[in-house]
C-alpha cells in the first residue's frame, strides 16, 4: 500500500428512504468542519430542489472531507452518495464499487427494510465492509436493540457495537467518524500501474462539458493525458482533474485509491457511461473493470406539449435533461389525439415521475404524459419480432402470432400482519409467488415473479397504501414471457383517443376499462352535449359511462356593481379551458392522463 493511501477512506451510506441518509451526511460534513453551519443548506448532498422536497436522493453527489481523528492523523474521507430508489440499482452498484466500505443506516423505529437489503446485497457483492449505524434513537418509538438484533439476524453481520445516532439531533456523530477510520479499510491499488479508473457518475456542466466522477483503482491521471473509455472506445484529452470539497478544486493529478473528477470535453453524459473504465490511450489497461452494463429504459410514455406550449420548447428541455441523464431516452412520435410529441424511456416509474416534474417545474412547461407502457415483444406470424413500446403501434391482431411481456423478480418486504393483503394484491396483478421467508419474527419477505406492466401501473401505490407505508419493494427484470395481452382503447364521443390506449392482460381488460371510464367520467367536465365514454377491445365495447350535458352555468346575481368577483370566476373558467385538450368536440383536462393511472384505495 502506498503511504498516502492509509489515510483515505472511501465509503458510501446505505439507507432506506426516510431513514436519514441525507441528514447523517449533513452531520458528517458539518463535523469534519468542511462547511460551516451557516453555509449548510439543509441536506447538503441532495442538491436538486425536487430531491429535497421528496426527501430522496436521485443524483449522486460526492464530497471529499478532511477529518482529524483521535489518533492525531488527518484522514481524507470520500463520501460517495448513492441514489435511494429501486429504479437506480445499477447506478447504486457502480457507486458502491468505488468504495471500500458502506455505512448502513437502520432506522431504530422501523428496522431493516427490503430496499436497504437490496443495497446491502449489492455492497456485499462488492466486498465492502459494512458499518451499521442505528439512527433516530431520539424518537420515543426507537427500539435500538431490536434494530441491532434484526441486522444480525437478517444480514448476519455483527452489530453489537453499532453507533447509536440521532442525525437530526447531532448525537453520536463522532463515534461514526471514528468507526469509519477504524473499520473501513484504506484503498489499495498500484499508483505506478496502468490506469484503471471507474466512472461512477457524471453530469453536464455548461462550461466544462461532462464532468466525470471517478475512482482511480490503479495508475494516475492528470491534465493533458489522452484517455480512452474502454467500453465505448472513445478517446478524449483531459482538460482538468480535481476533487469536490464540496465545490470543484482542481488538483495536479489523481492517483490510485483517490476519488475525484475529470473533465475532458465530453459532449454528453451518454458518452461517459456509468460503469465504464477510463484508461490511458498510450498505455491502456489490459482488462476493463468488471460490472459494466448499458442501462436500458424499462418504462416508456409519451410526452406532449399541452395547450399552447411549443413543441420546440419541450424538445429543448428533453435534450437538456438527456445530456445529464444517460438512462433517459426520447424520440419524436405523433399521436392523432395529441399531435407531435415524444416517446420517452425511463428506468422505472419514479424516474419517469421525476423527469416529468422537472419538465414542469424547472422548465416551466405545460405537458401531457400518456399512460406508461413497458416494451412488449410481438412475434408476428412470419416469425419476425417487433419490440413495441407504444400501444398505438401494436400491429393488427391478424398479423400477430403471440405477444410476450417483460417479467420481473419482485422482492417485497412487509410486516407480517400485511401478508394476506399483499398476497392478494400480488395475485390480482398476476404475480406468481416463488417463496416466502420470515426474515425476523415480525417481518416477511415475499419473492414474486410479476409482469412489469402490473408493477408500473399502480403496484407501488397499492403496496404503500395497504401496508400504511411500511412495505418496500425491489424489482429486477428477468425474462420475456408469452402472455394473453390485448389492446384496450378508449373512445370519447365515439372517437378513439390513442393517447389513452393501453396494452393489458385479457383478464384485466374489463376491470381496467371500467375503471378508466369511471375516472374519466369524474374528470371530464360537462359539455353542452352528452359525452359517451367507452372502453373497447377492437370493435367490442366492454365498458361505458356518460358525462351528462350541463344545463346550467350562469351567474344569477352581480350585486352593487361588484363585478370583480364574477369576472375572476369567468377568468378562472377561461384558465381551466386553456388546460383542456380538445379531442374532436370533447375537452379533456390534462389531469385525466395521470388520473387514470392512479391507484384508487376504494377499488
Amino acid at each position: 500500500m502506498n503511504s498516502y493511501q492509509q489515510f483515505i477512506r472511501n465509503f458510501c451510506i446505505i439507507a432506506h428512504i426516510d431513514h436519514g441518509k441525507s441528514t447523517l451526511a449533513d452531520r458528517i460534513i458539518e463535523n469534519t468542519g468542511l462547511v460551516s453551519q451557516r453555509e449548510m443548506k439543509e441536506q447538503f448532498l441532495d442538491n436538486m430542489e425536487l430531491e429535497r422536497e421528496r426527501g430522496i436522493t436521485i443524483k449522486l453527489q460526492t464530497t471529499r472531507l478532511v477529518y482529524k481523528a483521535k489518533d492525531g492523523h488527518e484522514y481524507i474521507f470520500n463520501l460517495i452518495d448513492t441514489p435511494g430508489h429501486v429504479d437506480f440499482t445499477y447506478e447504486v452498484s457502480r457507486s458502491l464499487a468505488a468504495c471500500e466500505g458502506a455505512v448502513l443506516i437502520v432506522d431504530a423505529t422501523q428496522g431493516v427494510e427490503a430496499q436497504t437489503l437490496a443495497n446491502v446485497y449489492l455492497a456485499l457483492d462488492e466486498d465492502l465492509e459494512i458499518l451499521p449505524v442505528i439512527n433516530k434513537i431520539d424518537l420515543a418509538s426507537a427500539r435500538p436493540d431490536e434494530a441491532k438484533q434484526e441486522i444480525e439476524d437478517i444480514i448476519g453481520i455483527d452489530a453489537h457495537d453499532a453507533p447509536l445516532v440521532s442525525a437530526k439531533e447531532g448525537i453520536g456523530i463522532e463515534e461514526v467518524l471514528e468507526a469509519i477510520v477504524a473499520r473501513i479499510p484504506a484503498p489499495k491499488g498500484d499508483a505506478d500501474g496502468r490506469l484503471k479508473a471507474l466512472i461512477f457518475d457524471s453530469y453536464y456542466d455548461n462550461y466544462r462539458g461532462v464532468v466525470v466522477y471517478t475512482r482511480i483503482f490503479d495508475g494516475k491521471i492528470k491534465k493533458g493525458d489522452v484517455i480512452r473509455l474502454m467500453n465505448t472506445r472513445k478517446k478524449y484529452e483531459v482538460t482538468e482533474v480535481g476533487v469536490y470539497a464540496p465545490g470543484p478544486v482542481p488538483t495536479s493529478e489523481l492517483s490510485a485509491g483517490e476519488v475525484g473528477y475529470i473533465c475532458a470535453s465530453i459532449k454528453q453524459v451518454a458518452d461517459a457511461r456509468v460503469g465504464d473504465t477510463i484508461t490511458l490511450d498510450s498505455e491502456p489497461a489490459e482488462e476493463p473493470l468488471p460490472g459494466y452494463k448499458k442501462v436500458q429504459p424499462m418504462v416508456y410514455c409519451g410526452i406532449y406539449p399541452a395547450g399552447t406550449e411549443k413543441y420546440e420548447n419541450v424538445k429543448d428541455a428533453l435534450e437538456k435533461l438527456q445530456v445529464n441523464d444517460a438512462a433517459f431516452h426520447f424520440e419524436p412520435e405523433t399521436s392523432t389525439a395529441l399531435g407531435f410529441g415524444f416517446r420517452c424511456g425511463f428506468l422505472g416509474l419514479l424516474h419517469m415521475e421525476i423527469i416529468v416534474e422537472r419538465l414542469e417545474r424547472e422548465f416551466d412547461l405545460a405537458i401531457i404524459t400518456t399512460s406508461p407502457s413497458v416494451i412488449y415483444k410481438v412475434v408476428m406470424n412470419d416469425g419476425r419480432e417487433e419490440m413495441i413500446q407504444n400501444p398505438s403501434n401494436l400491429p393488427s391482431p391478424i398479423e400477430i402470432h403471440h405477444i410476450e411481456e417483460p417479467i420481473v423478480k419482485a422482492d417485497i418486504m412487509i410486516p407480517k400482519e400485511y401478508v394476506g393483503g399483499i398476497m392478494e394484491i400480488c395475485q390480482e396483478r398476476r404475480g406468481k409467488m416463488i417463496h416466502m421467508e420470515y426474515i425476523t419474527e415480525t417481518r416477511v419477505m415475499l419473492h414474486y415473479e410479476m409482469p412489469l406492466n402490473e408493477v408500473i401501473y399502480d403496484f407501488f401505490d397499492a403496496l404503500k397504501s395497504k401496508t400504511r407505508g411500511y412495505g418496500s419493494l425491489d424489482y429486477e427484470f428477468i425474462r420475456y414471457e408469452k402472455s394473453n395481452l390485448v389492446k384496450l382503447d378508449i373512445l370519447l364521443n365515439k372517437e378513439l383517443v390513442d393517447a389513452f390506449s393501453m396494452i393489458v392482460h385479457e383478464s384485466k381488460a374489463y376491470y381496467r376499462g371500467r375503471f378508466v371510464c369511471e375516472k374519466l367520467k369524474e374528470i371530464i367536465p360537462m359539455h353542452q352535449f352528452e359525452v359517451p365514454i367507452q372502453a373497447a377491445i377492437g370493435q367490442k365495447v366492454i365498458a361505458r359511462e356518460t358525462v351528462k350535458a350541463y344545463r346550467k352555468d350562469v351567474i344569477a346575481k352581480c350585486y352593487g356593481g361588484d363585478i370583480s368577483r364574477k369576472k375572476k370566476l369567468l377568468e378562472k373558467q377561461k384558465e381551466g379551458k386553456k388546460r383542456m385538450r380538445q379531442f374532436g368536440t370533447v375537452e379533456v383536462p390534462q389531469e385525466a392522463f395521470t388520473a387514470v393511472l392512479k391507484y384508487d384505495d376504494n377499488k
Binding site: 352555468d553 350562469v554 346575481k557 356593481g561 377568468e571 373558467q573
Partner: protein, 418 residues
C-alpha cells in the same frame, strides 16, 4: 330637459343648472350606491358584506363615516355630475331607524345635484319594515322600495334563516302601497333546497297577483363560507339539480312575460317603464359611485372598492375630516378606498361584453364599434361564429344577445370574452 332639485344646488352654493357655472362641459349622469352592512342576522345562503348583531352605537358611527364619504365625493364630483339614480342597499337598510336614512339622503342632496325624477331605491326586509319607516322613506324622497321576501313558503324561509314569514311581507306590501310607493320590487329566489316546481309556481302566482312593478328572481347560489355551503359539504343539504333549477327559471320567465313583465336582465323583469335604472348602469358600464363599506365604484374608467373592515371604515371617516377642503379631482385620495384599478382597454371590452350581455336585449354592435373603435367581429370573430352556430347567441338588427338556451350556460361563452 331634466330639471334638478333646487334644494341640492343651493345647498352646494351653485347655479341651478345642469351646466355648471365655471365649466362648459355638461354634467354627466351618475348612479350612487349606499351600502348599509347591517342585518338582524345573516341568512344561511348569504355571502354579501353584512353583519348581524352590530351595536347601535357602532351603527351610528358608521353612518357618520358614510355621510363624510358622501360629502367627500360631493366636493370632487358635484361640478361634473348630476345624480339620477340612488340605490340604498345592504345588508338590510330597513333595519336602522328611519332618521338615519333621512340623514344620508340629506347629505346626498347637500353634496350632489339630484335630479327631480331620480330613481331612489331602498332595500328592505319584511321583518324590519314598519308604517313609520315607509312613510319616512317617502318623505326622504325615496320612490322605489325593494322587498326581499324570497319565498312565500314559511318552511323554506325558515330553512334559509330568513327572519320573517310570508304574512309579514303581505302586511308590508299593502302598507307600502298605502304610503304611496308606485314602484315596488319583490325579490324572489328559486332553486332553494327543498323547493319544488309547484311551490315555486305558487310563489310566482302570488307575487304576480300583487302586481308589483318589478320582480327579481334569483337562482340560489351556494357560496363558500356560508352555512348552506358547509351543510352541503357535510351532505346534510341537497342542492337542487340543474334540470329543476332551469325548469324553475324558464317557468318564471314564461309566467312573468305572460303577466306583462318584460324580461330585461338575466334575473330581472319589470312592467314597461319600471326597469331598475340604477342596476342598468352596471350593465352598461355607466359611471357609478359606491359609498359605504366594501362598496364598488366605476368612475371615468377606474374601478375602485372600499375597505371591508367595519372599524377601518369608521376610522377612515375620521381621517377624512382632517382633509376637508383638500383639492382633488378623482378618487385617488380617498381614505375609504382599498383597491383601485385603472381599466385597460382589454378590461373595458371584456367587462362591456360580460355585463352588457346580461341584458336580455343584449348589446348593440354599432355602439360597441363606436365605443372601442373596432368591431366585435374583429376581436372575437371565431368565438362569435362558434356560439352563433351553436345557437347560444343570436344576432338581430345589430343587436347581439343570448338565446334562451344560451342564458342557461352563458358563463361558457362569457369566459371566452374575458
Amino acid at each position: 330637459m331634466t330639471t334638478i332639485n333646487s334644494g341640492a344646488a343651493s345647498a352646494a352654493g351653485r347655479e341651478t343648472a345642469i351646466h355648471n357655472d365655471d365649466m362648459t362641459a355638461p354634467r354627466k349622469p351618475l348612479g350612487l350606491y349606499l351600502h348599509i352592512p347591517f342585518c338582524i342576522r345573516k341568512c344561511n345562503y348569504c355571502d354579501f358584506l353584512s353583519f348581524g348583531g352590530v351595536q347601535e352605537e357602532e351603527q351610528k358611527a358608521y353612518f357618520h363615516a358614510l355621510a363624510r364619504e358622501i360629502r367627500y365625493y360631493g366636493k370632487i364630483y358635484n361640478n361634473k355630475y348630476y345624480v339620477d339614480t340612488i340605490f340604498i342597499g345592504g345588508g338590510t337598510p330597513s333595519l336602522v331607524e328611519e332618521g338615519l336614512i333621512d340623514w344620508l339622503m340629506t347629505a346626498v342632496r347637500e353634496s350632489f345635484v339630484v335630479v327631480e325624477d331620480a330613481e331612489i331605491s331602498i332595500e328592505s326586509n319584511p321583518k324590519t319594515l314598519t308604517d313609520r319607516k315607509l312613510n319616512a322613506y317617502m318623505e326622504s324622497g325615496i320612490n322605489r322600495i325593494s322587498i326581499g321576501v324570497q319565498s312565500f313558503d314559511d318552511g323554506l324561509l325558515n330553512d334559509m334563516g330568513r327572519v320573517h314569514n310570508a304574512e309579514d311581507f303581505f302586511k308590508n306590501y299593502s302598507v307600502a302601497r298605502e304610503c304611496g310607493f308606485r314602484n315596488i320590487n319583490i325579490d324572489l329566489m328559486f332553486a332553494i333546497p327543498g323547493q319544488t316546481l309547484k311551490i315555486w309556481k305558487d310563489t310566482l302566482e302570488r307575487a304576480i297577483g300583487l302586481a308589483p312593478e318589478h320582480i327579481s328572481f334569483y337562482s340560489l347560489q351556494l357560496e363558500e363560507g356560508t352555512p348552506f355551503f358547509s351543510m352541503f359539504q357535510e351532505g346534510s343539504l341537497k342542492q337542487v339539480d340543474d334540470e329543476l333549477d332551469r325548469a324553475m327559471y324558464h317557468t318564471a320567465v314564461g309566467m312573468l312575460s305572460d303577466a306583462g313583465y318584460g324580461h330585461y336582465e338575466i334575473s330581472n323583469a319589470a312592467k314597461a317603464g319600471f326597469q331598475c335604472r340604477h342596476n342598468l348602469k352596471y350593465w352598461s358600464m355607466d359611471d357609478s359611485l359606491g359609498l359605504g363599506l366594501g362598496a364598488h365604484s366605476f368612475m371615468d374608467g377606474t374601478r375602485a372598492s372600499n375597505v371591508t373592515d367595519l372599524e377601518e371604515y369608521i376610522r377612515a371617516g375620521l381621517a377624512e375630516s382632517s382633509r376637508a377642503g383638500r383639492e382633488a379631482d378623482d378618487m385617488s385620495g380617498s381614505p375609504f378606498i382599498q383597491q383601485r384599478h385603472r381599466n385597460t382597454r382589454e378590461d373595458d371590452i371584456s367587462e362591456y361584453l360580460f355585463t352588457g350581455l346580461r341584458k336580455i336585449r343584449g348589446i348593440y354592435l354599432p355602439d360597441f364599434q363606436r365605443r372601442f373603435g373596432v368591431s366585435l367581429d374583429t376581436i372575437h370573430g371565431r368565438t362569435l361564429e362558434k356560439y352563433l352556430a351553436g345557437r347560444l347567441l343570436e344576432m338581430q338588427d345589430g343587436w347581439l344577445r343570448f338565446t334562451e338556451k344560451g342564458i342557461d350556460i352563458s358563463n361558457t361563452v362569457l369566459a371566452e370574452f374575458v
